[in-house]
Amino acid sequence: MSAPVAEGQRGADIEWHRLDIRLVVVALSVVLGPLAGLVSIVVIGNMGGLRLLIAAASVFVTAMVVAAIVLARITTTRFRIAGDWFEVRTGALFRTEHLVPLARVASVDITRGPLHRLAGLATVRVGTGDVRASTERRLTLDGLRLDRAQSLRRELLERRLPVSDAVADPALVRLERSWIRYAPLSVWGVGAVLTAAGSAYRFLHEFGFGLDDIAAVLGLEGRAGALPLWFGVLAVCAGLVVVGVVLPVAAFVENWSNYALDRGADGLQLRRGLLTTRSVTVPWAQIHGVELVEPLLYRAARAASIAVIATGLGTVEENRRRRRLSPGLPRPVAIGLADEVVRHTVAVAGAVLTAHPAAGAVRRLRFGLVVVGCAVATLLVSGAGTGWTALYVGAAATAVVGFPAVGMIARESHRSLGHATIGAWLILRAGVFPRRTIALHTDAVIGWGGSRSPFQRRHGLLTLTASTAAGEGAYRIRDMSEKEGVALVHGVAPGILKPFLCSSER
């Protein structure tokens, strides 16, 4: 591999490329939100004078600062491919030069937000398998023209991988509109609304517009007192439900439109997105397993989604965001896809899993009972202290609902536990919200560990941890029998374990 091209040897044919000037326009979009809020307040209400002036001035100053920062970034960021190296130079005061050998380039993603698309720009993220966040940031080039971004990706990937024949039938799955019915089964829709409302309120509060002003603007002042309580509660609940359905569906449309998963020669290719389009390739060499994810509500609808367990997707947080390979799918489709990801070397969902000892169920049940018990006790004590009957009612309700719920959850949680080793694959399953079935190739396991709480020691249980560079970094088989745990490691990696086994057995 040739040495990186030094500053003085830069040839005329190896030119530096820069970011595009239209990035400034895209970056200014960050002030659109506050600007819109300000405009609406001026139009709807009659807020005037000094407060408005200050708000408008701060929005203007923010815009200027943002434009200056982006201009600085554009003028000081340069990149090129020279020889066997990918070079990126950034910074004005603190110059940083980042050199990546092309052989280490793990993945190249292209992302385009809605404003990027309007401006004809794209964001390229080059992954090197380095888990440090700072490296990921430096190798993210935001604001390239689309054709430049695509040719960069082609050059980076083709020089790294040997050219192989195209796969006969690359297409694995395409989006089907009917899958939108699984979108509302996610419970995060309501949370998202509350978060957005909270952020909007906080922003307005900064400029001195309190709840009274907002209520006056919306004309609610006089009327709120006249409505009966049950109507208000019902309206709020109905509102939450509607929003909890509309928001996830909108998120589904945004995230999974044009969804396509292909089996390419270099790896799995995922395309998705409506406003922000994402195009990700995960090379086969970096795929070490697959995960079948079944949240509680999905299970009721016989649906599941899959995620890939791979290296080279960035830090652990980045990995969590980027490893998802599908929206909610009908379970048979998801299982077929999972088998494709592991190239049919193991049946991910069809494996017969060893159940875990019953003591694990007892452990979960005890934990749940303690939690609910504490909640009930707290309510009772505070009821005794303050004398409100509402607290006694609350305690009774918590007990009536909580204890059976805890029992069911403990039972489900224990029933979903299971593990197996099939050939070179380790399959483990755990969880209620959601239930995950993980197939991990044992070659990717770097080290083994086990942990035991006092309860586990008394009952001969063990939580076995397989640490790996892929995916989460550590995958746990909880509450398995201790002897089986050692036997499992022995079966998978007899070489490492042998020196540490008791020599007096059998």
Binding site: I446, G473, G495, F500
Partner: protein, 175 residues
């Protein structure tokens, strides 16, 4: 991946159990652990004691509070270091690092040397004041670092040298 055939004695899996690692940590580690507990747990009872002494009218209340918070800490102060010293063990062979640690919650970690990426020394201020040091063995896994703490300083530096030399030699060789 090794192609060693599993030892037929253990093929059924029923008779398997891990033995303990060979080496203990330095006996001075017990003092270090006790100091750690004291730093964590004693300030609060000490504050109550001071308050009890300086505010005579509330002496009984603060006296009981002091006792209530100090008694479990004193028990903890005696129990944790002794228990930890019994549990903490480590062993480094030519092929792997094997460490057991903890007291209430106990864990063992096993990492083959061929997958180790770097070896560092751990020198917290409290550890150092007792002449102790630790060793961190890092792998490619984000959370996969194995730590051996409470070693005598000389022992730790010898171990780091040994590990450094061995991982150079075995780099890239699969176990």
């Amino acid at each position: 991946m090794t192609t060693t055939v599993a030892d037929p004695r253990f093929a059924s899996g029923a008779g398997l159990s891990l033995r303990l690692p060979r080496h203990r940590v330095s006996p001075r580690a017990r003092v270090w652990w006790a100091a750690r507990v004291a730093l964590l747990g004693l300030p609060l009872p000490a504050v109550f004691l001071v308050l009890a002494l300086t505010i005579p009218p509330a002496a009984t209340v603060f006296g009981w509070l002091t006792l209530g918070f100090a008694a479990p800490v004193l028990v903890w102060l005696v129990v944790e270091p002794v228990w930890r010293f019994r549990v903490h063990r480590w062993e480094v062979t030519e092929t792997a690092v094997y460490v057991v640690s903890g007291w209430l919650w106990q864990r063992w970690r096993l990492v083959p040397l061929s997958r180790v990426q770097s070896v560092d020394s751990l020198r917290g201020p409290l550890q150092q004041s007792f002449g102790l040091a630790g060793v961190t063995v890092a792998t490619a896994a984000a959370t996969g670092a194995v730590r051996i703490t409470g070693l005598d300083r000389r022992c730790a530096s010898e171990l780091i040298e040994y590990l450094g030399a061995t991982i150079q030699a075995t780099a890239g060789v699969s176990e």
